[in-house]
């Protein structure tokens, strides 16, 4: 009985996998033979981030915690959900908040904002844990010093991505968190109005650093959190920072391979 169902199915499967379409996509058979296991890793642009073979102890979950991989996966989730959110969201003081309300009330089955927000929280934590693992296994030591540095920049980019995204709902939480955060920039030495030594930057009687041109102004695009800030943070959040992060991730993954793959005892 079972056979009568399975036999045609397996015949159909064979038909499909022998077809010109299938064989044009997958240039090799099922990855059950060693030859095909190597081919699948080498002929797939995504899988070829990995080597064909790796040390057994290195790929154990107890060693890597898969934390770097999880972080990368969260980045992909955030890119995808963020893209969908961009369909509905307009970065203006007039519309931003209303668009979020619309998103909640009128978009059917909408959990994109939830996925995006909780995913972003989670990514900050997984980056920390990934760094904790890399530190505790001494994996930043030679020859991986440079890649640890790239990783630190990626940590900063993750925090900045989260920080710029914080403003976009344009609610009370958003603008006041950004106001508190960006007030720090006012105290930048030399470059902030209330920073040490900035008063000494003068041209004759004219003070060169004021609230209209200091570090905080550069961050906000205005003297206080307003429309220019929203646009600036939106562009950074959706374009500038993700591009920078993607670029550095490419370097980061490439260097993992070039520095000898997943770390292990010498």
């Amino acid at each position: 009985m079972l056979n009568r169902i399975l036999a045609p199915l397996s015949a159909a499967w064979k038909e499909a996998t022998d077809s010109q379409v299938w064989t044009s996509i997958f240039r090799h058979g099922k990855p059950v033979s060693n030859r095909n296991r190597a081919l699948v890793m080498m002929s797939n642009v995504f899988l070829h981030l990995h080597p064909v073979k790796s040390r057994k102890a290195g790929i154990k979950l107890r060693y890597t915690w898969c934390m770097g991989g999880i972080t990368f996966f969260l980045f992909l989730v955030l890119t995808f959900t963020g893209l969908l959110l961009m369909f509905y969201y307009r970065p203006t003081v007039e519309y931003a908040y209303a668009d979020i309300v619309d998103l909640q009330e009128h978009v059917p089955l909408g959990i994109m904002r939830e996925l995006h927000r909780w995913g972003a929280h989670a990514m900050v934590i997984t980056v920390w844990l990934h760094m904790l693992r890399v530190f505790m296994t001494g994996s930043y030591k030679p020859p991986r010093e440079f890649n640890w540095g790239i990783g630190v920049v990626l940590l900063v980019l993750t925090l900045l991505l989260s920080f710029t995204g914080y403003l976009l709902p344009w609610d009370q939480l958003a603008i006041w968190a950004i106001a508190v955060g960006s007030n720090m920039a006012r105290a930048t030495p030399l470059l902030g109005t209330e920073g040490p030594l900035s008063a000494s930057l003068t041209l004759g009687d004219i003070s060169l650093i004021n609230a209209g041109n200091d570090a905080r102004f550069a961050l906000l695009g205005a003297r206080s959190v307003g429309q220019p800030t929203l646009l600036r943070f939106y562009v950074l959040h959706c374009v500038g920072l993700p591009l920078a992060a993607a670029f550095l991730m490419a370097v980061h993954f490439w260097r993992v391979r070039k520095d000898g793959g997943i770390s292990g005892p010498m």
Partner: protein, 373 residues
């Protein structure tokens, strides 16, 4: 009985007590490494989970902890504890192995295996599990949205995003130019400098504690106490006006905390000499602050040199200060960069205790040019 317990927890959560307990606890755990066992982890997590769950019946605790945006903080508490334990546990297991002339665990399975399926399946599983977790989390808990932005109405407390609350907590002890600009920069630079400062060739590519004690103690003190603890207490225990509130206390906007902070210059001129602070002009300001400048200068520029001296140049009782062996091992450049970064990091707990013990506000204060330390 319950009230007594709550009072005790509220008291123990105060910045002074909590910071001291956490630091001493961490140092004790490094000294008595048997606490990183499976049994103590189980006991610890059961106690933590019971404390957490039972506390949810307290309305004030629930109000803060169950806020949707505070969920990640609960995540930080449990995940950071778990993974710190896991790393230390494996490190100590490996240390036992190498003490018994065995190879570390990571060295044993050194044969190569096919990445498909051995690694690809793990990643696939991680993606599936994470997707499920995120989906369930998103379906159960709506993303919060507060009132529309109103620049005229600032909420109290106004908090930065949770991962920056360690920096906001530093604002209690340092001016913004240090807490918000210099220290974040130093954290980033310091993290990037770690591989170039740390010349210990051991412990590369496997968990260990014994072979990298100094590195691990310093890093975990920074990460767990100076970063995570401050993030957690900044979220859960700092209420209106950034006042401290215990986990079972109501966030009363009208609570007033007396601020009687004094500067080093006040201690020297007013309290010690009984004279008014020197006023008028640049040199008077320098004279006013000479002791603080000397203290900061000695801490940042003289102490590293003194610490590089061999042990026999120190009087008994101060011999622990000698870092001569590091100076020898690392060379002058690495030593000075490393020690300077370390001292900058330690300036936070030092300033904290100075505040708690003496109500000290500034060691050096030039409010005229916003240069206060």
């Amino acid at each position: 009985m319950i009230d007594l317990f709550k009072d005790l927890v509220n008291w123990a959560s105060g910045p002074t007590v909590l910071f001291t307990i956490a630091t001493l606890g961490l140092l004790a755990a490094f000294r008595f490494t048997q606490v990183w066992s499976k049994t103590s982890a189980k006991v610890f997590f059961v106690v933590l989970a019971v404390f957490y769950t039972a506390s949810m019946w307290d309305p004030d605790f629930f109000l803060i902890v169950a806020k949707p945006d505070n969920i990640p903080i609960t995540g930080v508490i449990f995940l950071v504890f778990f993974f710190t334990w896991y790393a230390m546990h494996q490190g100590i297991q490996n240390d036992r192995r190498s003490a018994g002339e065995q190879e570390v665990l990571e060295k044993q399975e050194s044969e190569k295996v096919w990445v498909w399926p051995d690694l690809v399946y793990t990643e696939m599983l991680a993606m599936v599990i994470l997707s499920i977790v995120l989906l369930v989390w998103s379906i159960l808990l709506a993303a919060p949205l507060e009132q529309p932005a109103n620049p005229a109405d600032s909420p109290n407390p106004s908090k930065a995003p949770w991962y920056f609350l360690g920096l906001q907590e530093m604002l209690v002890y340092f001016d913004p130019w240090l807490a918000g600009v210099v220290f974040p920069t130093l954290i980033i630079v310091g993290l990037m400098a770690i591989p170039y400062i740390d010349t210990n060739p051991k412990g590369n590519g496997y968990f260990t504690f014994k072979e990298r004690k100094a590195e691990i103690v310093i890093f975990l003190f920074g990460f767990l106490i100076l970063w995570c603890l401050l993030v957690v207490s900044g979220t859960f225990l700092r209420g209106p006006n950034w006042n401290f509130f215990g986990p079972y206390e109501y966030w009363d906007v009208h609570r007033v905390e007396p601020l009687l902070n004094v500067n080093v210059s006040d201690f020297f001129w007013v309290k010690l000499l009984g004279r008014p602070l020197p006023t008028g002009g640049f040199f008077a300001a320098l004279m006013r602050e000479w002791l603080g400048i000397l203290m900061v200068g000695a801490y940042l520029f003289v102490l590293p040199v003194v610490m590089s001296w061999p042990r026999d140049r120190f009087p008994t009782g101060l011999k622990w200060l000698s870092c001569h062996h590091y100076f020898e091992k690392m060379g002058a450049t690495r030593y000075y960069v490393g020690v300077s970064l370390f001292l900058m990091m330690m300036s936070l707990p030092i300033k904290m205790y100075l505040r708690w013990a003496f109500n000290l506000k500034y060691i050096v204060a030039f409010p005229e040019i916003f240069f206060n330390i």
